[in-house]
């Protein structure tokens, strides 16, 4: 457990001040709406904050390494999980006042959790048939590969296996572009005019705090009069995903993906990502 004690006070203060500066700039720029036909691309402060964080990351910009040392970036890793907690609390407070609407939407909320298996429907065929990937496809496509899903893959195959490489690749990609994808995708799908905004909102809970924030932020920007309901439904579904995600992966998604691979992938296909 990282603490700010033990000679790490200096780096810790630098880190928090850097984050404060990034937050100030990001919130000052504020939300930007880029209209595209009938839909819109929504740019959110969380996107600028992440981008600025990457720009000043000592692994990217060598100069900042002088003030943001190894101890500071290690603490930053711990801080992500801690910083997301009050956000999750703020999110939870949107549910209580809307509890009647949430209960009314109960069946849809519970059933849409099954919809998270949609990744297998979309990503597995692309990985195996289109991109001709090997067993990486199993780890890559069985789930959205956030921390609990990654832990499951690590436990079953080890992270150095082909399955682990696939899961790690999707994890790293999701970490880098997931916030962006989840900020622009829901408003564009809403622009199609096919789906109930409540359905779009309750699908935001995919088990990642930043994807949840981006998804609801984008939707609330295009349907501001439904903001409270959007937040409450998204929060409720995210809690369901937290509670069920690991078990759904263990008992349904991973066995299903394994079976699909054994049944449909050519037996002699070698690992594709190792070299």
């Amino acid at each position: 457990m990282a603490t700010s004690r033990g000679g790490a006070i200096g780096p810790a203060i630098v880190l928090h001040l850097a984050v404060l500066a990034i937050v100030l700039v990001s919130e000052y720029i504020g939300l930007i709406r880029v209209p595209i036909g009938i839909a819109a691309v929504i740019l959110l402060p969380i996107l600028y904050a992440f981008a600025l964080g990457i720009i000043f990351n000592p692994n990217v910009l060598k100069v900042t390494g002088k003030v943001l040392n190894h101890k500071a970036t290690k603490l930053a890793g711990t801080m992500i999980t801690i910083a997301i907690m009050p956000f999750i609390a703020r999110f939870g407070t949107t549910v209580g006042p809307q509890i009647k609407e949430i209960i009314a939407a109960g069946p849809a909320l519970i059933l849409q959790e099954i919809g998270n298996l949609g990744t297998i429907v979309v990503a597995f065929p692309v990985a195996v048939f289109l991109l001709r990937m090997g067993r990486e496809a199993v780890g890559a496509s069985y789930s959205i590969d956030r921390e609990p899903n990654l832990a499951l893959i690590a436990d079953k195959y080890g992270l150095n296996s082909p399955e682990g490489a696939g899961a790690m690749g999707v994890y790293a990609t999701g970490t880098l572009i997931g916030t962006f994808i989840f900020a622009i995708m829901p408003p564009l799908i809403h622009g199609l005019g096919i789906f109930d905004v409540r359905a779009l909102a309750m699908s935001c809970g995919v088990g990642s705090g930043s994807m949840l924030a981006a998804c609801t932020g984008g939707l609330a920007a295009v349907v501001p009069d439904q903001k409270d309901l959007i937040l409450a439904l998204a929060a409720a579904s995210n809690i369901l995903t937290y509670a069920t995600g690991l078990y759904a992966g263990l008992f349904v998604a991973l066995p299903l993906t394994e079976w699909l691979y054994r049944t449909f992938a050519p037996a002699d296909r070698a690992s594709t990502l190792q070299h």
């Binding site: 984050v19 964080g53 916030t179 995708m185």
Partner: protein
């Protein structure tokens, strides 16, 4: 280190949660968020302070529950439950909590986390992303799209049936 791929440092869960260190670091996060909220919504830190204090207390209560519960659920699940119960109309203090937190923009609360996330990315994560190549990026986008649209379709159909 040669064989172990270590992802971004995750704090301990369950019994191993260090409540004292969380209590301190949460104060830092809440202070940064108060300033962010000021810039984003023009609500002064003083006016937003009661709401932020509520979020702080709910988070700590959630962490205490996560530490001492005999079965495992992620801390964030407990924190959510505490926040939901604290705002259900009729629960003592619910009206105060709802009113207080309404002074804090929900997205502002996520901005510090994303700033830390950008700064925390390790060389290893950049390397994995680069080594995995374009195929993994395509699959990852399909994974995110599929996870989302699968839920949207089922939720939409269910809402059409149940109203």
């Amino acid at each position: 280190m040669n064989n172990e791929i270590s992802i971004t440092e995750a704090p301990a869960e369950g019994r191993a949660i260090d409540l004292a260190s969380h209590a301190v670091l949460l104060v830092v996060v809440c202070a940064i968020a108060l300033v962010g909220n000021w810039v984003a919504t023009k609500v002064t830190p003083l006016d937003a302070l009661p709401g932020m204090a509520c979020l702080y207390v709910m988070t700590m209560v959630g962490l205490v529950i996560a530490k001492y519960m005999p079965f495992y659920l992620p801390s964030v699940a407990w924190i959510s439950l505490v926040a939901i119960i604290a705002t259900i109309p009729g629960v003592p203090g619910a009206a105060f909590v709802s009113e207080a937190v309404s002074k804090i923009n929900f997205l502002v609360m996520a901005t510090p986390a994303l700033a830390y996330a950008g700064l925390a990315l390790t060389q290893q994560e950049f390397t994995i992303a680069r080594k995995s190549g374009w195929k993994i990026v395509v699959v990852a986008i399909c994974v995110m799209f599929g996870t989302y649209i699968g839920s949207v379709v089922i939720a939409d159909l269910t809402l059409r049936i149940t109203g």
